[in-house]
């Protein structure tokens, strides 16, 4: 390779093509920006989590259990504290109704009864600051709560809050505390009381959903050693362990999944940018065929040509990557605001070199991959073309075409898998992207081919000429349909999915759906509670008994042994160790579908062990059990033998009582149980009064107004949708840039032809109609294909991913299609303007 020559030529080509390269690079830069912004946010958040994990946890170690922590565990904790000079603190944590006598309103809250030393790391920051001290002193029953609770109950600091049988004075609001964050507290606001006050509430009763927590402060190495030494003992006692490292891992995993899912939208923008670069480089290469032939004829080697134009692509990718990275860094400052309430820590954006490097690499790789095809064409230009302009290279052999196509596909898959939350998601994403791009390109090519055969011969000249532009050489049909269609597809699909999710939420709050959930109803409270509901005009929609249980053995093998075998399988460990809420029913529930085995129809089925049990598919998979396998339960100390009789698919999307494990009525009814009720009262005011009276009559029963949960879900989904939309805007802007670039390319290529027509006597009006016909036809085709594919994709996502019924958002999709059609037609039409306006002679000279 002749380095001096290549460098000089590259410099000159860059000088000559900088505007074009800026346009193509812009297409790529926006996708890179979205990904760099998200990578940066993830890195910054991870750093913040690392710094704040202990504060978020409230100590260096947290032990939790659904029953009081056993003495053995307390002794082990005592040894750890004594040997390290650390400390321990206890928190009892449960859900309860809180009511405000001042306003008569009530609300489900998350009660945290904290011991005197809590938190051992970090702080509970309150307003006023001394409020926390007053709670911990416990001299007067005092509470601090999330500010949202005070707003919802209509009370102020100094007012009284009733929890069960105890009354507390609200002495402040919580500004910051370990544990829940952001939108999590919207479902159940937190109320902190002194640990000593739990008894007075009389809310902790058998079967209540109570979590007992022990926090420890000790050096992390000692904690790690202690956990390793006592893991088996703790697991056998059903004590869950969370360390700072584990907390960091969990939070970072969560943030990683969220940013990577959002990153898929950025990735789509990047792929779209790649398509734009490919289209742009193809046009650039077409313009360079004669130059290349001349260079080859005067002695440039194929390596020189590759170096010049490959170098051009390299510079394009590097500049696009760098500009995208710079934009991404700016975006990084905006994302935390957009995702407020969804991040577990306070994030201060900062420059993240790794994120920037990732962006530059992505820009380079994607540009080069999409430029390879056109560059291969350039290298194959025969020098003989310098003598005869019609002399073209022989078409690339099938093997070569497959290799180039394969390179694009493999790169797309690798980049997707690298950026996606999981390899499987990456593969699905790449497959979906490839399918959509292939369908768009295929449909555009098919239409062009059919137009070639079905020319409207009787139509006016401008119409025939305009339509012919769709299929003649150097047409822009496929590239325009790909870019406009894909941009529309992306936006319309995101909109369609969100519209369907919101519709489902609206359905769940519809007139036939339950809007009150009552749980922790004790056996002796079922009758009186039903009477009260009936008296107040509330309809019981559903009720189900709950029996707390744990697994003790599977197939005769005890759980401890299974855990040792499945030590690295997170899902299996969780399924083996979790506490189960068993329920019993004679009839199959309408949200359940049997996929294996049979449902019990025999009334005697539940009267003797082993009891038949029906498991949900996910839990059966996690436990690796199927029909006929033996499962032994520990029902509050009593072993109960069962055999898997069926496996069920559960429709979790429905707002109803659903269970992973169901038993037939009979023997199990003797176990201590609570009952959960789903009820409906249509009037909001009467519903609030009913909640208040329920709390008074049954202080231990928790009542949840479903509209609050659904409202919180709606708020979270709206927040996520906002972030997704913002990232989708990058893809749309990419599409728009490509469209501008395509219009510029079209202008360059149509100039000579338009001038010829003009020289031959075509009027400005005819030229305008020719250009407009082409632009309108392309815009319409892209809009129809993009909208059609988006409806299909929305249906598929609803059907297979979200598993909820699909209702097409036809009106919105049509509006989006009309907008994309209008933009592409206007831009396409504008492409012919300079030629129409200019003098043929002037432009012909310039040509």
């Amino acid at each position: 390779m002749n380095r001096a020559f290549v460098t000089a030529m590259l410099r000159r080509e860059l000088r000559a093509s900088r505007r074009r390269l800026a346009l193509y690079g812009g297409c790529m830069a926006l996708g890179v920006a979205a990904l760099v912004g998200l990578h940066g946010l993830r890195a910054t958040t991870s750093r913040a989590i690392d710094a704040q994990a202990a504060r978020l946890l409230g100590g260096d170690l947290r032990l939790s259990r659904r029953a009081p922590v056993p003495d053995d565990t307390r002794r082990l904790v005592g040894e750890l504290v004594a040997s390290t000079g650390g400390a321990s603190a206890e928190v009892t944590h449960f859900g309860s109704m809180a009511s405000a006598p001042a306003t008569g309103r009530s609300r489900l809250v998350d009660v945290q009864a904290a011991g005197a030393d809590y938190p051992l790391r970090g702080e509970v920051r309150t307003d006023p600051a001394e409020a926390w001290l007053r709670v911990r002193e416990g001299n007067v029953p005092a509470a601090v709560a999330d500010a949202s609770l005070l707003v919802q109950l209509g009370i102020e600091i100094g007012d009284t809050l009733v929890l069960g049988a105890a009354r507390f004075r609200v002495v402040g609001t919580v500004a910051r505390a370990p544990g829940a964050f952001g939108m999590q507290t919207q479902i159940a606001p937190r109320v902190f009381i002194a640990h000593a006050a739990v008894g007075e509430t009389q809310l902790v009763r058998p079967g209540s959903l109570v979590e007992y927590l022990v926090f420890v402060r000790a050096p992390s190495a000692d904690v790690a050693a202690w956990v390793d030494a006592n893991r088996a003992t703790l697991e056998n006692a059903h004590v869950r362990v969370q360390t700072v490292a584990g907390q960091m891992e969990d939070l970072e995993r969560g943030v990683g999944i969220m940013t990577r899912f959002l990153g898929l939208v950025g990735l789509a923008a990047l792929a779209l940018g790649g398509v734009g670069v490919a289209a742009g480089v193809r046009v650039l290469v077409r313009d360079k065929l004669d130059t290349t032939a001349m260079l080859r004829s005067v002695g440039a080697s194929s390596r020189d040509v590759i170096a010049i134009y490959g170098g051009l692509a390299l510079v394009l990718g590097a500049v696009a990557g760098s500009v995208g990275a710079a934009l991404g860094v700016a975006l990084q400052w905006g994302l935390p605001v957009l995702l407020e309430g969804l991040l577990p820590v306070d994030v201060t954006p900062r420059f993240e070199p790794a994120a920037v490097a990732t962006g530059v690499v992505l820009g380079l790789v994607v540009t080069l991959v999409f430029a390879v095809g056109p560059l291969v064409d350039l290298v194959r230009v025969p020098p003989l073309r310098s003598l005869r302009a019609d002399f073209m290279a022989e078409p690339l052999p099938v093997v070569g075409r497959v290799a180039v196509g394969g390179l694009v596909v493999v790169s797309l898959v690798l980049v997707s898998c690298w950026q996606a939350p999981t390899v499987a998601v990456g593969l699905w994403f790449a497959a979906g992207l490839a399918a959509v791009l292939c369908l768009l390109a295929g449909a555009a090519a098919a239409l062009a081919a059919s137009l070639r055969r079905l020319r409207p011969r009787g139509a006016p000249y401008w119409l025939r000429q305009g339509l012919a532009s769709l299929f003649r050489p150097r047409n822009h049909t496929v590239s325009t349909v790909l870019t406009v269609g894909f941009g529309l597809f992306l936006v319309a699909t995101l909109h369609g999915v969100q519209a369907n999710l919101r519709r489902q939420i609206a359905l769940d709050t519809g007139p036939d759906r339950p809007n009150l959930v009552l749980f922790d109803v004790q056996a002796d409270q079922v009758g009186p509670l039903e009477d009260l509901l009936e008296e107040r005009g509330a309809a019981v929609v559903d009720r189900a008994p709950l029996v707390s249980a744990r697994l003790s053995a599977i197939g005769g093998e005890d759980v401890a042994t299974r855990i040792a075998v499945d030590a690295d399988d997170r899902e299996a460990r969780w399924a083996l160790l979790r506490e189960y809420r068993l329920s019993y029913t004679a009839d199959l529930r309408e949200t359940d579908t049997i996929v294996a085995g049979t449902w019990w129809s025999d009334g005697e089925a539940g009267t003797s062990e082993p009891l038949p049990v029906s498991l949900e598919t996910g839990i059966a998979r996690a436990l690796r059990v199927g029909v006929g396998d033996a499962v032994t339960w520990d029902v509050q100390g009593v072993p109960v033998e069962s055999v898997v009789a069926s496996v069920r698919e559960v429709d979790w999307g429905r707002f109803s009582t659903n269970f992973v494990a169901l038993l037939p009525p009979g023997l199990i009814e003797q176990a201590p149980s609570t009952t959960v009720f789903l009820a409906r009262h249509p009037e909001a005011v009467a519903r609030a009064a009913l909640q208040r009276d329920l709390v008074r009559a049954f202080p231990n029963v928790s009542v949840l107004d479903a509209s609050l949960i659904l409202g919180a879900l709606d708020a979270i989904s709206a927040r996520v949708a906002l972030a997704v939309r913002m990232l989708a805007a990058f893809a749309v802007a990419t599409g728009f840039l490509i469209l501008v670039a395509a219009a510029a390319m079209a202008r360059g290529e149509r100039t000579r032809e338009m001038l010829l027509l003009r020289t031959l006597g075509a009027s400005t009006a005819v030229l305008r109609r020719v250009v407009t016909t082409e632009a309108v036809a392309l815009g319409a085709l892209a809009a129809v294909l993009g909208a059609g594919l988006s409806l299909f994709a929305s249906w598929a996502l609803m059907r297979f991913v979200f598993e909820i019924p699909f209702a097409p958002a036809l009106g919105d999709t049509l509006a989006l299609a009309a907008a994309s059609f209008a933009v592409s037609a206007l831009l396409g039409g504008a492409a012919g303007r300079p030629v129409r306006a200019g003098s043929p002679l002037a432009v012909l000279r310039a040509e």
């Binding site: 002749n2 001096a4 000089a8 130059t291 004829s297 005067v298 002695g299 080697s301 310098s386 003598l387």
Partner: protein, 230 residues
């Protein structure tokens, strides 16, 4: 300088088993410093012959020796290197790079060859050549800013830049009016005399052809006759 033996060139014809025969058994020897015109009607194989002699393509059958090297044993990059060192071209459609100035277009073969060794010397040589073809004032102009005749002058300056041993001119006046074309021919021949270059001119123009030492008349891919206008 150039020896061609039994040159045959055939191309597959779409939809037919019979190939298109463009050249059919051409034998030719051209001596150092000689001027040869190739004359013939459209489709007679003139440009194909020029492409084969210059190593822009390989024949279906037969051999070509250029500047003492057999083209058959060289790959495409090897032939490119030989062209860079020993061959110059003047094209009918000028083939100037539209994004390079006149000066930069002339610099291309010098940079490819890497001679003279320094960029300043290369530029001085390119300016000298452009001055020699009467374009001193136009060195910074782009092809679109030059007339057809000026563009071909740049093409001639570029063709002589690497001091080629053989110069191939493909219809050098084909895109120019009579007077401009005449000026170009005079320039081409004058430079040829100065440099002692072997010159192969493909043309329709009988007047131009008669300025050569020999005229090869080509018809339907065969040598019809060789004429020495004397």
């Amino acid at each position: 300088m150039i020896v061609a033996r039994n040159l045959r060139q055939r191309y597959p014809r779409p939809g037919s088993d019979e190939p298109l025969v463009v050249l059919d058994g051409v034998d030719l020897e051209i001596a150092q410093g000689e001027i040869l015109s190739v004359l013939g009607p459209s489709g007679s194989g003139k440009t194909t012959l020029l492409g084969l002699l210059a190593g822009l393509d390989l024949p279906t059958e037969g051999t070509v020796e250029l500047a003492g090297r057999s083209l058959a044993v060289l790959d495409e990059d090897g032939r490119a290197a030989l062209r860079a060192a020993s061959v110059g071209f003047v094209f009918q459609s000028f083939q100037l790079v539209p994004t390079l100035t006149a000066l930069e277009n002339v610099l291309v073969p010098l940079e490819l060859l890497g001679r003279p060794a320094t960029a300043a010397d290369r530029e001085a040589r390119a300016r000298e050549l452009l001055g020699r073809v009467g374009l001193t004032e136009r060195v910074g102009h782009y092809p679109a800013q030059l007339s057809g005749g000026e563009q071909q002058r740049v093409g001639i300056a570029r063709a002589f830049a690497n001091e080629p041993r053989v110069l191939f001119a493909d219809e050098p006046t084909g895109n120019l009016d009579g007077a401009t074309g005449q000026g170009i021919i005079e320039l081409l021949l004058e430079l040829n005399r100065e440099k002692g270059t072997t010159l192969v001119i493909v043309t329709h123009d009988l007047e131009l052809a008669r300025r050569a030492g020999r005229i090869l008349h080509l018809s339907r891919g065969r040598v019809e006759r060789m004429e020495s206008p004397g």
